[in-house]
């Protein structure tokens, strides 16, 4: 090995050791700074992604309309285009109304946020929302969506937040199977992609009376999440020699996560 290469390797290893031994606080500071720096690009990327999606939708619509062109008059096509646009607006309007109703139903004081980037990582189930420290959002704050619990905030920068979704293995939630005394820890699965997400509920009794379709809700114990938030429904229960394990279908549709709500202050019950 050339002396210069050896020297470079020694400096590199020294740098690696320095990075690997950084304190968690320093790493969080680095990540906050990084997210702060890239947030304009994240928003730009999100806007571009939405435009691309609209463009693809438009192409699909154009194809449909093209098939009808031979059968209908030009005026009719124009009207259909207008109607399509109106339907799109109606759908958007309905979605926002549902989100608004959901917000009003909540006993918690929540801040609405839009998901600007889904799955920025290869292996971690995360997303980025367009609210941050400027909206009084900090790390560890629970996130809910139409349907129930969606995850929690990981890193909060000035204008954006990186959130860990419930479908990630690292997001652990203390839950209870509604109507039973069974409590356990729920987390996301690993190694399944392009299919319906499933959550794993551990630490149940060996032979618990759990049936498919039973609802799973947060216990509020542990100090991380409020109680009685819907998490999902039991899909399958497997008794084991030491403990039972259940597979849970999440109540939130993670593939269409558009608007989420960050729990700002708890106005109702206290946590255990």
């Amino acid at each position: 090995m050339k002396p210069t290469n050896f020297f470079a390797l020694v400096i590199f290893l020294w740098g690696v050791i320095w990075v690997l031994t950084l304190s968690e606080g320093t790493v969080r500071w680095i990540q906050q700074a990084y997210y702060g720096a890239i947030s304009p690009f994240l928003k730009g990327g999100s806007a571009m992604e939405m435009k691309a999606r609209d463009f693809l939708n438009e192409i699909e619509n154009s194809k449909d309309l093209g098939n009808q062109l031979s059968a209908v008059q030009e005026e009719y096509v124009k009207l259909r285009s207008i109607e399509g646009r109106l339907r799109e607006l109606e759908s958007e309007n309905n979605e926002l109304r549902r989100a608004l109703e959901f917000k009003e139903k909540q006993r918690l004081n929540v801040i609405a946020a839009r998901v600007i980037k889904r799955q920025p990582s290869t292996w971690w189930e995360t997303a980025i929302i367009d609210r941050g420290q400027s909206s009084d959002i900090g790390a560890g704050v629970p996130i809910i969506a139409p349907g129930g619990l969606a995850g929690k905030v990981d890193i909060a920068s000035e204008d954006t937040c990186s959130i860990i979704l419930l479908t990630d293995e690292r997001c652990q939630v203390s839950v209870q199977v509604a109507g039973t005394p069974e409590v356990g820890i729920l987390h996301g699965g690993r190694g399944r992609y392009g299919e319906e997400p499933r959550l794993i509920l551990r630490h149940l009794s060996r032979e618990a009376a759990i049936l498919p379709g039973m609802k799973v809700i947060t216990t509020g114990k542990g100090g991380l999440f409020p109680s009685n938030l819907l998490v999902g429904t039991v899909k399958e229960y497997t008794p084991g020699p030491v403990e039972g394990v259940a597979l849970v279908k999440p109540s939130v549709n993670f593939s269409e996560l558009g608007v989420v709500f960050v729990i700002a202050h708890r106005t109702g019950e206290e946590e255990g």
Binding site: V16, V19, I38, G45, R190, G191
Partner: protein, 200 residues
């Protein structure tokens, strides 16, 4: 260290920005284009060990700054009597080591690249991405426990490698332009083996 090497640092940082515009394709098992690793791998084949390690350090550092989930602060970990499972994960900085490993892999094929056979390097960058993702997944599995190997996992890695590899010629084109701009030689015609019967 010349202007070309500095421009590569700029290129890696630009790749971090471009990565924000790269979505996950749900129909392709959440495969995506990994812009930062690709730029690093292509750049690694055009430089010597020292600059390659510097790029590995910068690329891996920035990659982990966005992707690694740092353990929450003590007060945000919840009641340890309730959350009894260890929530272990890979630590910040592990990507630097992975980048360096892949960089050495690409350096192994540097003579072919310097002969002008960039297309072989492009194919091998796809192989390198596949290896990188596989090692990364195994690394995560080693830390978290429970080895989970599925068909969709294999397809995700394969599609990501393929998608990323298709972008390789663009990155090599950019590298050649930068090399021309800063008068850096990355291709030596003299390394080409003389054809049998050609010449005197």
């Amino acid at each position: 260290m010349g202007w070309y090497h500095l421009s590569l640092v700029g290129l890696v940082i630009t790749a971090c920005i471009l990565q924000q515009f790269s979505p996950a394709f749900e129909s392709l098992y959440e495969g995506r284009i990994l812009v930062v690793p690709l730029v690093f791998l292509c750049a690694a084949v055009t430089v010597n060990v020292g600059p390659m390690l510097l790029l590995a350090f910068i690329g891996g550092f920035l990659w982990d700054a966005q992707h690694v989930i740092t353990p929450p602060l003590e007060e945000l970990r919840g009641n340890p009597e309730v959350y009894i499972d260890p929530n272990e994960d890979v630590i910040f900085g592990y990507s630097i080591i992975l980048y360096a490993m892949m960089g050495f892999f690409m350096q192994g094929i540097q003579p072919l690249f310097r002969e002008g056979r960039w297309h072989i390097s492009a194919l091998l960058s796809g192989v390198a991405i596949f290896l990188y993702l596989s090692v990364e997944y195994l690394f995560i599995t080693f830390v978290r426990g429970d080895l989970v190997l599925t068909r969709s996992l294999f397809l995700k890695i394969s599609f990501t490698s393929l998608l990323t590899m298709f972008l390789c010629p663009v990155v090599f084109w950019a590298l050649y332009r930068l090399a021309d701009l800063f008068h850096h030689t990355i291709s030596y015609e003299g390394l080409k083996k003389p054809r049998r019967g050609a010449g005197n």
